[in-house]
Amino acid sequence: MSVVEIKNLNLIYQSTKSETEALTDINLTIEKEEFVSIVGPSGCGKTTILSLITGLIKPTSGQVLVMGKTPNLKNNFCGYMFQRDNLLPWRTIEKNIYFGLELKKLASKERKEKALDLTNKYGLSEFLKKHPSELSGGMRQRVALIRTLALQPELLLLDEPFSALDYQTRLELCDDIFNIIKTEQKTAILVTHDIQEAISMSDRIIVLSARPGKIKAIHTLDFSPDLTPFERRKTEKAKQLFDVIWQEIQNEKKKI
């Protein structure tokens, strides 16, 4: 079974002044343990696709299936990671990691221990008793990922999770998060503006057109699996692909 199946999806936003076609005729299937990136000009509906997959909004027509079911907020298979870490400033790192478990009433001892295992595994255990304000941006984003993973989601939705960080941290965190996602064998969808970032992490890259968002191109990447994102960036193949996708997005921008 595919993790995500989107069939003939259309989405029209309603507002008092007008109606906006946000997405048109999207067809997309994502398999288990695949890493898919969505790039495109701003306002093309990248984040909207994530919202549809979590069940935050419903499609105007067409179908979205996650693990073969229509997604809803109460019970979905997704873990969402935002641009900002959104850690609660009044909770310690440990309590922040349990936040999702508490909300879903899953905060059993066993689940909590599993979450703590993750923090040990990925080098966060020394920060457990600290508050978010005492951590660097990169660390905080790692905590946010662990909080998401604590819920053992089938599918990770990454909504520009690196864009609020400085360049150095971004590259570092890219490697780390890629490693965590691969080790935990998760399926992931990354939405980003950064073409290089998409190339460095993905198995497939989907290029959306300007609004209304349509799938303009799909690139399947075949890097050797032992390359880290950082190493991928340096390859000739990555540079060529960058030029191709860059051109595709530029052409779209001209249409606006």
Binding site: L73, K74, L88, W90, F99, G100, L103, H131
Partner: protein, 269 residues
């Protein structure tokens, strides 16, 4: 936590820091002492009229006489009671209303113009209506107090509830949180600081409410003493009541400040 050894510069810094704190406190006391002494001397040598300005010694004398006759406790306790009841009811209801309005965006939009008008209305203007509806007694005073406190409470707390970071709410929703969970785990801890500062404001406002109410209708209480003293030109009584008010209001403020510290401890930061 481990005790660390610090450099000499650090101890020097600490010493300067505590020295500064002490000197601020001493200066504060000094200012008060100079003010009282000056007041006392000026009125004793009749440079200012002791009839119009009273004097610290006369205030102490009046206060001790009032204490002996039981008047001080009697009037203070009446005003305290009104203030406290007004404070508690207004804060409680205000909080509940703010919660309901937070829950429903529809109700919030409906109530908005009413709240704005009620907020800008000087509550004292409702005095005559309150007296007619609730009688010229303590009930009217408490109602006046509630009216003055409640609108500000609703507006402040609602404002704080709705100012919670939208992204945090989006996160909680993506984790499947229901409305009550969002309130308990996000909104409330996020608003804690604002709630405490609202309590602080409310302490002051409920004193205003109680005294204003007593100006309107009372037969007892500190506000009554102030009005009565003014009417019979007994400035000693007026000054003494004012000082007592100052002391009581400070005590109540300190209690809220202690509560704030406790809360901060509870929430770690």
């Amino acid at each position: 936590m481990k005790r660390k050894k610090f450099s000499a510069a650090h101890y020097d810094y600490l010493r300067k820091y505590s020295l500064r704190k002490i000197s601020i406190l001493l200066t504060q006391i000094l200012v008060l002492a100079i003010f009282i002494t000056l007041w006392e001397l000026l009125s004793r040598y009749e440079i200012i009229s002791s009839f119009f300005f009273s004097s610290p010694s006369k205030i102490i004398k009046t206060a001790s006489e009032m204490f002996k006759s039981g008047e001080l406790v009697y009037h203070s306790s009446i005003t305290l009671k009104e203030t406290f009841i007004g404070f508690a009811i207004a804060t409680g209801i205000g909080f509940a209303v703010a919660f309901v309005l937070w829950c429903s965006t529809f109700l919030r939009s409906v109530s908005e113009p009413y709240l704005v008008v009620l907020n800008s209305l000087p509550k004292i203007a409702l005095g005559p209506i309150i007296i007619i509806w609730f009688g010229a007694g303590q009930k009217a005073i408490i109602v006046m107090c509630i009216l003055i406190v409640i609108i500000v409470t609703i507006l402040n707390i609602l404002n704080s509830f709705t100012s919670c970071d939208k992204q945090l709410i989006a996160l909680a929703k993506s984790l499947g949180a229901n409305k009550l969970q969002i309130f308990a785990k996000l909104i409330l801890p996020n608003s804690l600081k604002d709630i405490v500062s609202t309590l602080k404001i409310n302490v002051g406002l409920s004193w205003i409410g109680a005294i204003m109410g007593e100006y309107l209708v009372s037969r007892a209480g500190l506000g009554y003493l102030l009005i009565y003293g003014g009417q019979v030109f007994n400035l000693n009584l007026v000054m003494t009541s004012t000082v007592i008010l100052c002391v009581l209001a400070s005590i109540m403020y300190l209690l809220v400040a202690m509560f704030e510290k406790l809360m901060n401890k509870f929430y770690g930061k």
